[in-house]
Symmetry: C2
Subunit: 717 residues, 2 copies
């Protein structure tokens, strides 16, 4: 599995051609490249916003149509209603899993671990391709519309990243866009920046939380950060907010079918509790602890199940994956339709006519108090209110204020257990799946449960169960995903209420601390399982006592000479699978000198194009500037997330084999170096913070040419 991941080179390879190009380019070009970067950010924002609108409209329409059909049928027969309901779900889930298995396997799951890996410096094959984008969009419409216990928010982050990456490399490798115009972004660093924007755009679009998007990109997915980039990410998020708002304004006139009644997830809790008293801090802390425990348990269970799935189930081919998803769909349908049938209905409470709440609500409408399998017209089924509903509406009902005692403890508990199980089981099937909304469902259920106890315990306080549901949601996400600031802001933005900010912070701090005592965050665990070796922000403890030399072990370095026989290159490349090789030259007085580092991928391009082969074993003079540049720099760029050239694909005849090649113009003349006895902690920080791929460990220098201090770096324009 680890063979499918490969590191990315974010370092700028300052080879001869690059330096020439830089020297040729004027200040105007710098302006041009800035403008292009902003245009790409704009395009990413618009693209992601539109994708989100499309997914939302599609999901809302499928789900709305499904529920209204089912409701109209169950007026006559509950059994027929169930069958129709189940079949629609099955069809949607089947379409989703079929797309994923047969067309875009990399689009399964949430995609966030892979994106996190990409921004950390590891490329997973297939993750940012055009087909993955298409599969993700249509797959997540199917899986969410089909009522599985998963969300569309994680996949939207992946979608945003795909859009950004495709824009960044000028379209998919198959359907090239005008490439000359897009050449500016042919550096992996710029592409990575754009993907960061794409991530933020995804969150901004999924939750309509622009600031949350920026923070998510910052806290959760990137491993390094520059404040310049922050502004561009912010811009992208703002664009998304505008696009989504425009689309929703357009839909308000009813042009989008069922969309608009449910719509984008904003669970307005602005009518929640006004204030909180100090006694309440205790139950809130308990919510935090429960969140930490259940979140950590969720991570652990999904880890085991995913592990088992990967090693046993999914090995058996696509058919097993499809059957699995279909079975889970049927089970989900049975539970969500069947369980409410066993629940006795509750008589409607007396509701203030002005509050706008109806009990029971009109069939086929959204709202609380659904009349489902009740004998009496004036009754409602509380379990159906949350179970037999879209997740967005269920959450809205759970968060709702002024509806004290709407749910019975028994119903909430039933739902919690069933839905938790469903979420755990559904995680890891071959469909696009986000964990945000299921997490909010689970959290708000036990939150509301705690809230019910608080209401009956402190009778005098003005307590809203909905507020506790909100805190519960925050706590579960915190306990599972272990984000802090970004989650806090996202929660505030989706509930449109700032009053509870300090409470949400508190609950998150507790649940993250509790969760961290057990295991790592959901995305980190999943990334590790998928063989994505993330570099954490903190170096390991034992690195303090190790040196750089010890980290390399007693490896025998495989290197090249400056002018090297083509045949030797081929045999060396065949003999190992390292990706970077130091290049050695000899000075006049016979000493060796490390003149740079050459990448395997560059060597392969040289071998393939053959234009640089020469008959003489002497170096062509680079320093004199007489060397013609026979390559466009773009030839050396590897398309993102697709396998590059391999040595086995290159065919050379015996004439070629005996020629020479001068590596000097193509190598990176100034790779980062560390002295052999630097401690590994320092090496780690250097490696991670600069986003490196190779670092040369060298002996102590014999002399110092100069010292660079701050003063030397303060150059005026």
């Amino acid at each position: 599995d680890a063979s499918s991941v490969e590191s990315l080179d974010y370092e700028v390879i300052e080879n001869y051609a690059y330096r020439l190009q830089q020297a040729k380019r004027g200040k105007l070009y710098a302006w041009y490249s800035v403008v292009v970067k902003w245009l790409f950010a704009l395009a990413t924002g618009i693209g992601t916003g539109l994708a989100a609108v499309f997914i939302n409209i599609a999901v809302e329409n499928f789900a709305g149509w499904k529920f209204s059909l089912t409701f109209s049928i169950i007026q006559k027969s509950y059994f027929a209603g169930f069958v129709v309901y189940m079949l629609i779900n099955l069809a949607l889930v089947f379409s989703s899993v079929y797309i994923i298995t047969h067309f875009a396997p990399a689009a399964a799951g949430s995609g966030i671990p892979e994106i996190k890996g990409y921004l950390n410096g590891i490329d997973t094959h297939g993750i940012l391709l055009f087909r993955t984008l298409v599969g993700k969009i249509f797959g997540s419409i199917g899986s969410v519309g089909g009522g599985l216990a998963l969300g569309k928010e994680g996949p939207l982050v992946h979608t945003g990243a795909c859009i950004a990456s495709l824009l960044g490399q000028g379209g998919s490798t198959k359907y090239h866009l005008n490439s000359r115009w897009l050449q500016v972004l042919k550096s992996e660093r710029d592409r990575r920046d754009l993907v960061t924007c794409g991530c933020a755009a995804g969150v901004a679009a999924a939750f309509r939380a622009p600031v949350g998007g920026v923070l998510f990109a910052l806290e959760e997915v990137t491993s390094w950060w520059r404040s310049q980039l922050m502004w561009r990410v912010f811009f992208t998020s703002a664009i998304v907010a505008v696009v989504v708002r425009t689309a929703m304004g357009w839909c308000r006139s009813g042009k989008c079918g069922h969309f608009g009644s449910g719509g984008f997830i904003i669970w307005d809790v602005s009518d929640g509790q006004e204030d909180y008293s100090f006694e309440e801090l205790f139950p809130m802390a308990i919510i935090g602890i429960i969140g930490g425990l259940l979140g950590a348990l969720f991570n652990q269970l999904t880890l085991y199940i995913t592990h088992w799935r990967r090693n046993y189930l999914h090995r058996r081919g696509n058919r097993v994956k499809i059957i699995e998803a279909c079975i889970i769909s049927v089970i989900t349908s049975i539970i969500s339709f069947g369980l409410p049938l066993f629940k006795k209905c509750t008589p409607c409470p007396d509701i203030d006519a002005n509050s706008g709440i109806e009990c029971p609500r009109a069939p086929g409408m959204y709202g609380n108090y659904v009349n489902f399998y009740c004998g009496n017209k004036n009754e409602y089924n509380d379990l159906a209110t949350i179970f037999f509903n879209t997740q967005d509406d269920a959450i809205r009902n759970l968060f709702s204020a002024k509806t004290i005692h709407e749910f019975s403890a028994q119903s909430l508990l039933t739902f919690l257990v069933m839905f938790y199980t469903l979420a755990v089981v559904t995680f890891g099937t071959s469909v696009p799946a986000g964990q945000f909304v299921p997490g909010i469902m689970i959290g708000s259920t036990y939150g509301r449960l705690v809230g019910m106890f608080v209401v009956s315990f402190y009778r005098k306080l003005n307590i809203e169960e909905g507020t506790y549901a909100l805190l519960g949601a925050a706590s579960f996400l915190g306990g599972s995903m272990r984000m802090t600031v970004s989650l806090c802001v996202i929660m505030v933005e989706i509930t449109n209420n700032l009053k509870f900010l300090p409470l949400i912070m508190l609950v998150l701090l507790i649940s993250k601390a509790v969760g961290d005592a057990f295991n790592e965050g959901l995305y980190e665990e999943q990334a590790r399982l998928r063989g994505i070796p993330l570099l954490e922000s903190k170096p390991k403890y034992q690195m303090r006592n190790m040196t750089a030399r010890e980290a390399c072990g007693n490896q025998k370095v495989i290197y090249f000479h400056r002018v090297v026989k083509v045949g030797d290159v081929v045999s060396i490349l065949r003999s190992n699978n390292h990706n970077g090789f130091p290049v050695i030259d000899h000075t006049r007085n016979g000493e060796t000198l490390v003149i740079g580092l050459i990448l395997r991928s560059h060597l392969l391009v040289l071998l393939q194009t053959k234009v640089d082969f020469q008959h003489s074993p002497l170096p062509s003079d680079v320093r004199g500037g007489s060397l013609p540049i026979r390559h466009n720099l773009n030839e050396f760029m590897k398309p993102v997330s697709s396998k590059g050239l391999s040595i086995d694909e290159i065919h050379l005849d015996s004439d070629d084999i005996n020629m020479y090649i001068d590596l000097a113009p193509f190598l990176n003349p100034s790779p980062y170096v560390v002295p052999e006895d630097m401690s590994l902690t320092k090496v780690y920080n250097l490696f991670r913070q600069l986003g490196l791929r190779h670092l040369l460990v060298v002996p102590r220098a014999s002399r110092v040419i100069g010292l660079v201090t701050r003063k030397d770096l303060l150059i005026e324009d």
Copy 2:
């Protein structure tokens, strides 16, 4: 001036003693140090929260008392009222400027540029001392209570940073706390982390904006960031929120005098506009442009004036500074009291009795519609409503909704011009001064002005002038301070309204872009003026074509030999003022070898303590581990923001001079090195992202000992 700043060493000096200490410490110690860091963060949060509460209570009480006294006097005589008003202001401002000039000169101004510098790696003398903290707190009570056109928010950030830094080094150098217990934070990196927490705490306390605080610390003040730190900063902010809320709850019962009626700045605009239409985007963009222009102008004007002040006015000593502040105070009093007298009063509008708004308001109360120098009882003076008021209340009035046409365009314009001028002139006087609240005042004035035009232009729309005032405030701050995400979140948190988030983003993007076309942000400009050489996040354009060797010029490196005569050390240190020196040793076969880097400050400690002097010019064997450690690592720590030892303070007799000293145990054996022909862009990124002070430029290596790749850094526990 540049002599008063010095770089900080954030790099861990892995010398012999440090390595021994590391090796001795167990895993338990790592736990202990984590716990201590969190405890310090907790203490910082509590301290900053309490300081903020204290400042707010004091300011509100002074201001409340001043206004109620004046109001009761002007019922009889406007002239007597004016005299009393002016004298109270004068007394407060005098006390402030006296404290600053005679006790804590480093507490003048906002302190944010200096903190930014500190976190970027430059220490300004005096900036984080105990006396600065005291001066800042009491000085800002005087200057804000005295009604000057400045705010208390910037100083609170500085206060938070001071508290954090003092905690981090275990109290002030004069009043040592239990130092053994605090030894964990004796690394400059940990101290810096704590100061970051302190900054965030300051913002969180000043604006009651915990998330805004985290983002401010992240975006504006730090130049590097780790996600571990993010969580601790978040925690500190949450603590501040809890402390401040507790204190405010306690004050609500009336125990804090005038505090509570004005209180912490939260200008609730939740009754603002419900929605916005697309036609409004145009006037909003105009607000953004105005904000960019006025903000850039503000930066430029304050730059000129501060420059002039530093070079001419403030050179003449403290008396001039005091006179200057007093004159400005008198002028401010005259303008704020006098201008409203010239304004004709307006008849009260018909107000819905249920809205809670009174016209005219009862004298001495807070609210809109003040009756000031009006002939008729049923009239109000709109200029007095904003001018003759505390800034917090003025802003509240400017932001207020449902009060269309309260202000005449003429009054707003008068106020804008006068207040802008006052703010520019007041900036740079020798009192603690923040620019947030004055900025909000200026911005909301022109925002409301634009809003008035919009209201009269688009008659049909449901437009609130207060909403435009809010956008104006955001635009001015954006145009002047050039923050994005943090400012956005702070604005949302202080106005307690999420609806306008996308609009605020839009306005900020425009105003920042416009402002950036003219000059740098306020804090960057001020930092540069003060000789604080910040390293921006983007390397300069021409660095692309320079190499590391060129950056060093043809400097002759001053270095030490491993075992060196004490007399030589003294004379070398006297002959230059470099702060780091490479140390050279000879191998058996006569080659030289760079064995590390020694800091001037460490050499000075060695010279002062004298315990390491030896008679023999031969190295004492370090590798054998036989070397006794005669120093506590803490001896080498320089207290923050105070001048360290100087070579002139060290007195050696002639015996000492002829002894030797072996530098090997004290030098940093693995300073960061770069090959001579690395491009300066790469060097810059390395230097800035790792927070370095010295970087050695060395010749190409002769061989490669090994390669470090990601795989080598993935060590399991």
